[in-house]
């Protein structure tokens, strides 16, 4: 019984954390009124590293060509001209020749493929400010004006954005969007509001070239998995402000399989485990659904355990639904019935980083070390042998 009360206490703690996350997100909703204020909008180079086909890729890229902004350029950067994204990028560049161009250049400077993709684009960019934006991001016409205005009024060195997951049409995408719009969004706002810890989201980062060069440029982050976190940290350490914009970018996740969802969150978990260390434990406590299910494992389906699990699941589901409604995520209300299952999966995934330190990212496999520093995956060790065996089994049963 004592064990039950311990987990009941942890569940209550987790639910309180979720409540604070909702409170924190609420404070970032809506855009501040800028009536009567005037801003200078500096020319911006938008760098778009591309690899593979993301959901809704054409519209995502096109949304950046229709921004209401005086002067900007878009550089689609790829490592391989046979990449399927290259065809889409070329179509967009053909449609908006004055705005966008495509650069295909192999760059092997570091181990992070996104940074390798960004280095040639950065070299080719012509303006004093750069905006790094992922290929799975969709924005409205006023996006760039909003974030440059935010940069000026806060005197920030780096402006980042909240991300909401939209467009889910498969179970993997719905899980992904539910998680982005609750745990991920809540954590970013919570850290910013209550802990004063800047949490940079790589999907959208605006900074000046001067500030980026001051922290060592992209070469300073070429061998880390969490290049966004490290850029934010280096900026912060250099005395430059890192701020979160009130503008929410949309992350299009439409047709993900469950495997992709598992792979992404195992990777992100490993990253946070390597960066956060023991603080990573707080994530497990921040998952009240999973914690409330543990007594069921130990004491069976007792009335107390069932009530605890039901109350936690219901409260978390309602909280996520409220956040989704407030942020306009467009997720069907019935999909929120999946929240407890998603949280159970996330709870199990929490243990993966403790057991494994290899990550697969856009087709590349690495070992991840402290502060998310990457190492090439060994070709000839027992590790490689283990993966050869696993892939042989997978192929056999495919």
């Amino acid at each position: 019984m004592a064990l039950f009360w311990i987990f009941a206490g942890l569940t209550a703690l987790g639910l309180a954390g979720c409540f604070l996350q909702i409170f924190a997100v609420r404070s970032y909703l809506g855009r501040p009124s800028r009536k009567g204020l005037s801003y200078v909008f500096p020319p911006v180079s938008i760098l778009k590293p591309l690899k593979g086909l993301d959901d809704n890729l054409f519209d995502n890229l096109e949304s950046f060509c229709n921004l209401d902004y005086p002067e900007y350029e878009i550089i689609f950067s790829l490592q391989d001209r046979n990449d399927h994204a290259c065809k889409v990028a070329r179509k967009i560049a053909g449609k908006y020749p004055d705005r966008a161009r495509v650069i295909v250049e192999k760059c092997n400077e570091g181990l992070n493929p996104k940074v390798n993709n960004l280095i040639p684009a950065y070299r080719a960019s012509k303006y004093g400010h750069v905006l790094i934006s992922d290929s799975n991001v969709l924005v409205d016409r006023d996006y760039l004006k909003e974030i440059t205005a935010r940069m000026q009024e806060s005197g920030a060195g780096l402006v980042t954005n909240l991300v909401k997951g939209v467009g889910g049409r498969s179970i993997g995408s719905i899980f992904e969007n539910l998680h982005l719009n609750s745990f991920v969004m809540g954590s970013v706002c919570f850290l910013e509001k209550f802990m004063k810890m800047p949490c940079v989201v790589g999907k959208s980062m605006l900074m000046s070239k001067e500030d980026l060069e001051d922290i060592g440029g992209f070469r300073a982050v070429k061998d880390v998995l969490a290049e966004d976190y490290l850029i934010g940290k280096l900026m912060h350490d250099a005395g430059k402000k890192v701020v979160l914009s009130h503008y929410m970018v949309q992350n299009m996740n439409q047709y993900w399989g469950i495997k992709k969802f598992l792979n992404r969150h195992a990777r992100w978990g490993k990253l946070r485990w390597r960066i956060g260390g023991v603080r990573y434990i707080s994530e497990l406590i921040g998952n009240p659904v999973f914690i409330s299910l543990i007594p069921l494992l130990f004491s069976g389906a007792s009335a107390y355990a069932l009530v605890l699990a039901s109350v936690a699941s219901l409260a978390k589901t309602l909280g996520d639904w409220y956040l989704g409604k407030k942020t306009g995520s467009g997720i069907n209300a019935l999909c929120y019935a999946l929240v407890p299952f998603k949280d159970l999966v996330i709870g199990i995934l929490w243990f993966v980083p403790v057991l494994s330190k290899s990550v697969v990212w856009r087709g590349n496999r690495y070992l991840i070390g402290k502060d998310s520093f990457l190492q090439p995956y060994p070709e000839r060790t027992i590790w490689a042998f283990r993966y050869r065996v696993i892939s042989a089994i997978k192929t056999r049963f495919a």
Partner: protein
């Protein structure tokens, strides 16, 4: 080279994705030419009757509506994605035995062709409409339940009517087509979003319906590719 898929189903038959969303899926992925080819199923067999009962077939009654919808979407796709969309159907003659069953793509169809007609009549009518015909998944497939072997078993008789054969369909490759040196294309047989990643055709021709048909018919400048992400 134009990236093409000439075998795509929507909710007009047994596809799981609506027509507009299907067009968007291909447009967003950068395709140059696609053909919407929903099933026209024969109503003279038990399987066919069930398909009609559950509305898994384009019928004579809704054919014009189907063609109009595809043409409307084709116009949108041309403007938005610079993608050519061709109207087509998959004439599906389904019987209980695989030896009697056959599926034929009719690309650039203008008028309804009933699937219960004889093969010769179907081919001649397609030719009259200046459409081209493609024998779909003509040999044994990894998923045995979809085998349609009639045209392959009677290839000497019908070869002259068939403009191309599917040398690859979704994940299957039919090497017999290359051994016989028949004209070939490869298609995804799209029913669900994951089928986007499958065998496709690359054509070296202009992005116009007539050029595409000529290219398939003459089978020069045709390549196949396994489209994967």
């Amino acid at each position: 080279m134009l990236l093409c898929d000439f075998h795509i189903h929507t909710k007009y038959s047994d596809g799981s994705v609506e027509l507009r969303r299907t067009i968007d899926l291909y447009g967003q992925a950068g395709f140059d030419v696609i053909a919407i080819t929903d099933h026209v199923v024969n109503g003279d067999s038990l399987i066919g009757k069930l398909a009609h009962r559950f509305r898994l077939s384009v019928t004579e009654e809704n054919f014009n509506g189907y063609i109009d919808a595809v043409r409307e979407e084709a116009e949108r796709a041309r403007k938005k994605y610079d993608m050519l969309v061709i109207c087509g159907v998959e004439i599906s003659k389904n019987y209980l035995t695989t030896d009697k069953s056959a599926h034929i793509l009719v690309l650039d169809i203008k008028e309804f062709i009933p699937a219960c007609w004889g093969y010769e009549k179907i081919f001649l009518e397609a030719r009259r409409q200046k459409a081209i015909t493609v024998a779909c998944h003509p040999h044994y497939m990894s998923d045995n339940s979809r085998d349609t072997l009639y045209l392959w078993n009677n290839r000497e008789k019908y070869d002259k009517h068939i403009d191309a054969w599917e040398i690859a369909n979704r994940d299957d490759v039919f090497n017999v087509i290359s051994l016989k040196k028949y004209n070939y294309i490869a298609n995804g047989d799209f029913h669900r979003p994951r089928h986007l990643y499958s065998w496709k055709t690359l054509l070296n021709c202009d992005k116009r319906v007539e050029s595409v048909k000529e290219c398939i018919k003459h089978n020069k400048g045709v390549a196949i590719t396994l489209f994967r992400n």
